[in-house]
Amino acid sequence: MKFWRKPLDLDQVVIPHGDVIIIKDRCKGCGFCVEYCPKGVLQMSEEFNIKGYHPPIVVKSGECVNCNLCEMLCPEFAIYSVPAPEDETLGGAEESLSTVEATKEEKTWRRTLRAS
């Protein structure tokens, strides 16, 4: 993860990981989710859904921080994210962090991530 300025407590923070779920035939191609995904996880696809719109696809799999912004913005109830299963998202370097108890600071950080 890139930071404009590295947080002092970066080593204590758990960066959540999420899976994006797209219900593509519900999509009307407004592009809100693609535009506002803070991690650039999504892109409009070339594919048409049954209504003839281009639904989003996940292009940066593993980058999702499960912030739910796509889910909140989507007017069609067509996309949402869920926490990624632990075994898939936690690589060796981050493994030690997974056991760190959530601190007050961490919660603040999460809220900051979630702020639109």
Binding site: V20, P75, E76, S116
Partner: protein, 300 residues
């Protein structure tokens, strides 16, 4: 890892707000790029996060695009007549005071044809939560001029541009006495949801205006691009000023949109005032309508 679900019937059940929606009516009728669905999502999320008793919550809509919201939510949902959502909701609330009653409707419906009800309900500080989705025009009927249309935006009945002065709705309801007044755009999903959560747990007249894109009509008639372009505009031109004087929050054409929580006062609500007053003047003789309503029941 990340996935695209191709089996809608499975995904339907999994969407976090699915339990609050009438999934048998989704997809809804709103246009691509319209923001009403976003407001519904945020409201549903607020309901989930506040854990209000959904059995005791009613949603009332008037007519128009936003008026369809009551039909998509799995609540006691009332889709009423044009402009009359607030008085209808008033009847529901007063006849069964334990209900939480939310009015979800549009700017034309609530501030235009229903404008009289809006101001009087705010004046009484009636125990209603009102979500006004403002897309600056009468969209369902084809983009006609609304009481919120900024000057000189074009509408289908002001083809040369609107010359009428629009309402500054937060100021209108605040000056009438509403106890909670906020405005967000449909881009401010977190703050909007937070406002909904706060308002759900307040008494009195709680008013939240949400500025949303109308891509099909308002944006097209004014060559403002797609819904996404309007969202980008909100991103650039909205300014959060909590506690702002509502006199300063009028919305001009493509001007800055002042957002925030403007009013949050602990004023006695209509029901509180009524109960307190009757108790004072009638004493023990006062028999209030029971919380579960004044319905006659068979005596056992």
């Amino acid at each position: 890892m990340s996935k695209v679900i191709d089996r809608p019937e499975v995904a339907k059940e999994q969407h976090p707000v699915a339990p609050l929606l009438r999934m048998d009516r989704i997809p809804h009728i709103w246009c691509p790029g319209c923001g009403i669905g976003t407001v519904v999502k945020c409201f549903a999320t607020a309901l989930q996060e506040t854990e209000v008793d959904l059995n005791k919550l009613a949603i009332v809509s008037g007519i128009g695009c936003s008026g369809r919201a009551a039909g998509y939510m799995k609540l006691d949902g009332f889709h009423t007549t044009h402009g009359r959502a607030i008085p209808f909701a008033t009847g529901l609330k007063l006849a069964r005071p334990e209900l939480k009653v939310v009015v979800f409707s549009g700017d034309g419906d609530l501030a235009g044809i229903g404008g009289n009800h809006l101001i009087h309900s705010a004046r009484r500080n009636q125990d209603l939560m009102v979500i006004l989705v403002n897309n600056f025009n009468y969209a369902m009927t084809g983009g006609q001029n609304a009481p919120t249309t900024p000057t000189p935006a074009k509408t289908s009945t002001m083809p040369y541009g609107n010359f009428e002065h629009p309402f500054n709705v937060p100021h209108l309801v605040a000056s009438c006495g509403a106890s909670y007044v906020a405005r967000w755009t449909s881009l401010h999903v977190r703050r909007m949801t937070k406002s909904f959560k706060e308002a759900l747990n307040r008494k009195g007249f709680r008013f939240i205006e949400v500025v949303t894109p109308c891509a099909t009509l308002y944006a097209r008639l004014n060559k403002l691009g797609l819904g996404l372009d309007l969202m980008r505009f909100y991103h650039q031109e909205s300014e959060i000023r909590n506690g702002a004087d509502t006199r300063d929050v009028a919305i001009g054409y493509q001007s800055k949109i002042i957002c925030g929580k403007f009013v949050d006062e602990d004023r006695p609500s209509y029901l509180e005032t009524m109960h307190e007053y009757y108790r004072k003047v009638l004493g023990d003789k006062y028999v209030p309508t029971p919380p579960e309503g004044g319905m006659l029941r068979e005596q056992n």
